[in-house]
C-alpha cells in the first residue's frame, strides 16, 4: 500500500530529507504525454503531443493561451493546469489593468512557483500534479520557463517534459547550437522533430495529435510583438508534413553517434 511511513502527506520529511508526496506529484508529470519547448533569439515555440483516451473521445488540450504575449503547455493533470492557467490569466490581466503593461514572464512564473511551494508546506494541501512549459515574450525578449510540482521553476533554452521526454531532450541537446539563430519555421520543425523522437514505436505525428504554439518579436529593433498563436488540426499540417516519414529533404545531420 504505502512505500513507507513518511509519504502520507506533503508536510512530512523522510529521515533522508525527502518529501515523498512531492515526488509522487512529479511522477504524475511523467505520466502525461510529452511537450517540448524551445527558444531562439526572436521566437519561443511550444509543441505538444495530444492523447485521446479512446477512439471515441476527443484529444486532450495541451497548449493554453494565457495572454497576448504568452502561453503554456502542460504535462500531467489537466485540471490542475486549468487552475494554474486561470490564475496566470488573472495575473496577466491584473498587470495590464493596474500598470498598463504586459506582465514579465519571470514574475508570472515565480508567482505560480510560490503557489506550488505553498502546497508543499501547509497541512491538508496537495502539490499540483502538473508540469508546465511557459513560453512568451516580454521587454527582455523571448523566454521559456519550466515549472515543476515541487515549486521549482527555471529558465530554459530548450526543454521537454512528460512521458519518454528523455528522447526529445537528447535531440534538443544534440541540436542546441542551431536554435539561437533559427527562424520561426525552423524552430517549429526542430520542436516537432524532438517530439517525434519521443513517439512510441507504432505512433506517428498527425494533424490530430499535434499542437503548436508560437510567440515572438518582429520588426524594427525587435520591439513589435508577434502575439501567441495556437495552431491545431489542419493548421499544423504544413509542419507535420515537413517532418513526416520519408520527407527528409536533407540527410540527418548531427545524428551521428558521438565518439
Amino acid at each position: 500500500m504505502f512505500r513507507n511511513n513518511y509519504d502520507n502527506d506533503s508536510v512530512t520529511f523522510s529521515p533522508q530529507g525527502r518529501i515523498f508526496q512531492v515526488e509522487y506529484a512529479s511522477e504524475a508529470v511523467k505520466q502525461g504525454s510529452v511537450v517540448v519547448g524551445l527558444v531562439s533569439k526572436t521566437h519561443a515555440v511550444l509543441v505538444a503531443l495530444k492523447r485521446n483516451a479512446e477512439e471515441l473521445s476527443s484529444y486532450q488540450k495541451k497548449v493554453i493561451a494565457i495572454d497576448e504575449h504568452l502561453g503554456l503547455a502542460l504535462a500531467g493533470l489537466a485540471s490542475d493546469a486549468r487552475v494554474l492557467s486561470n490564475f496566470m490569466k488573472q495575473q496577466s490581466l491584473s498587470s495590464r489593468l493596474t500598470y498598463g503593461r504586459a506582465i514579465p514572464l519571470s514574475r508570472l512564473v515565480n508567482s505560480i512557483g510560490d503557489r506550488a511551494q505553498t502546497n508543499t508546506q501547509h497541512y491538508g494541501k496537495r502539490p499540483y500534479g502538473v508540469g508546465l512549459l511557459v513560453a512568451g515574450v516580454d521587454e527582455t525578449g523571448p523566454h521559456l520557463f519550466e515549472f515543476q510540482p515541487s515549486g521549482m521553476t527555471q529558465e530554459m533554452v530548450a526543454c521537454a517534459i512528460g512521458a519518454r521526454s528523455q528522447m526529445a531532450r537528447t535531440y534538443l541537446e544534440r541540436n542546441l547550437d542551431k536554435f539561437a539563430d533559427a527562424g520561426r519555421e525552423e524552430l517549429v520543425v526542430h520542436g516537432l522533430k524532438a517530439l517525434k523522437e519521443s513517439l512510441a514505436q507504432d505512433k506517428e505525428l498527425t494533424v490530430e495529435n499535434c499542437s503548436v504554439g508560437v510567440v515572438g518579436v518582429r520588426g524594427e529593433g525587435m520591439k513589435a510583438i508577434e502575439g501567441f498563436k495556437l495552431f491545431d488540426g489542419q493548421d499544423v499540417k504544413q509542419w507535420v508534413d515537413m517532418v513526416a516519414e520519408g520527407a527528409e529533404e536533407t540527410a540527418e545531420e548531427g545524428m551521428d553517434v558521438d565518439s
Partner: protein
C-alpha cells in the same frame, strides 16, 4: 464675495450637484471632501443598418478651465491584443472622467476574461447586460457617468445601448449624452427618427401621413454627427476642440478625428 469663493457663480458652468456651501448658524463654513467633479464634454451614438457610429468631443474641463483639448471619451473594448485592432465593441463615457476611465478599464478586463472563459468574443447584448450589473454594483457610490455602448448585434445590425449612472439601460436607434445632450437629442429625434415630419399633401390634421422611417446610409449619419457637434460647440461652452468618431462595421472599427472650434 462669491467671486473669491471656490464655488461657481450663479449661472456658471453647470456642476452635477449644487456645490453651494451650507453656512452654519455661527457663520462658520463647512468644509468636506466631495468625491465627484464634472468634466463636461458630450457624446453621441447612432446605429444604422450594418454599422454603428459612436462619437465624442475631446475637450475636458474643470469649471471655466480647459484641462486638455485632447482627452478621448470613446474607447474600444475587448480585442485580443493591446492595440485592440480586432475589437468589436465601443464604450463612450461622459461625466466624471476619473470614474469613466475606471469603468472603461474594468469593462475591458471583464470582456477579455469572458473571451478566455467562453472561447468566443462577447456579444454586444451580453456586454450591455454586464455593464448594467457593473454600474449597479456601485449603486450607493455610483460611477458618475453616462455610458453608451455600441457594436453590431448577432444579426450584424447596428446596436446602441444607453445607460444612466446606476445601470438602467435600453437599446436605442440613437442617443446623445453629456453636457450638450439636451441640445443634440431633439435634433436627432427629428433627423434620425423623423419625429413631427409628415408627407407633404397627404391630408389635413389627423389625416397627415408620418414620414416613412428609413435606415440612414453611413455618409449621411456621419454628416448628422458633425452637424450635431458643430451646433453643440456654438451653444455650449464645455464642448469643443476635437471630434472623435469610431465607426463599427463588420470589417472592424474605423477611427476618424475632426477638429472643432477651440473657443
Amino acid at each position: 464675495m462669491a467671486m473669491f469663493s471656490q464655488n461657481p457663480l450663479m449661472n456658471g458652468p453647470n456642476y452635477s450637484f449644487s456645490q453651494t456651501p451650507s453656512t452654519a448658524a455661527a457663520g462658520n463654513k463647512e468644509h468636506s471632501f466631495y468625491p465627484y467633479t464634472d468634466n463636461g464634454g458630450s457624446t453621441l451614438a447612432i446605429s444604422g443598418n450594418d454599422f454603428t457610429i459612436i462619437a465624442g468631443d475631446t475637450r475636458s474641463t474643470s469649471g471655466y478651465n480647459i484641462n486638455t483639448r485632447y482627452s478621448p471619451k470613446v474607447f474600444k473594448i475587448g480585442g485580443t491584443t493591446s492595440s485592440q485592432d480586432d475589437a468589436t465593441l465601443v464604450l463612450s463615457v461622459v461625466g466624471f472622467a476619473a470614474d469613466g476611465a475606471a469603468l472603461k478599464e474594468r469593462l475591458d478586463a471583464i470582456v477579455k476574461m469572458y473571451r478566455y472563459q467562453h472561447g468566443k468574443p462577447m456579444s454586444v447584448k451580453a456586454c450591455a447586460q454586464r455593464l448594467s450589473t457593473i454600474l449597479y454594483g456601485k449603486r450607493f457610490f455610483p460611477y458618475y457617468v453616462t455610458a453608451i455602448l455600441g457594436g453590431l448585434d448577432e444579426e450584424g445590425k447596428g446596436a446602441v445601448y444607453s445607460y444612466d449612472p446606476v445601470g438602467s439601460y435600453e437599446r436605442e436607434q440613437c442617443r446623445a449624452a453629456g453636457a450638450a445632450a439636451s441640445l443634440i437629442m431633439p435634433f436627432l429625434d427629428n433627423q434620425v427618427n423623423y419625429k413631427n415630419q409628415y408627407i407633404p399633401g397627404s391630408g389635413e390634421g389627423h389625416a397627415l401621413q408620418e414620414r416613412e422611417k428609413i435606415p440612414l446610409p453611413r455618409n449621411e449619419v456621419e454628416d448628422l454627427v458633425k452637424d450635431a457637434f458643430d451646433s453643440a460647440v456654438e451653444r455650449h461652452i464645455e464642448v469643443g476642440d476635437g471630434l472623435q468618431m469610431l465607426i463599427i462595421t463588420k470589417s472592424g472599427i474605423e477611427e476618424k478625428y475632426l477638429p472643432l472650434k477651440k473657443d
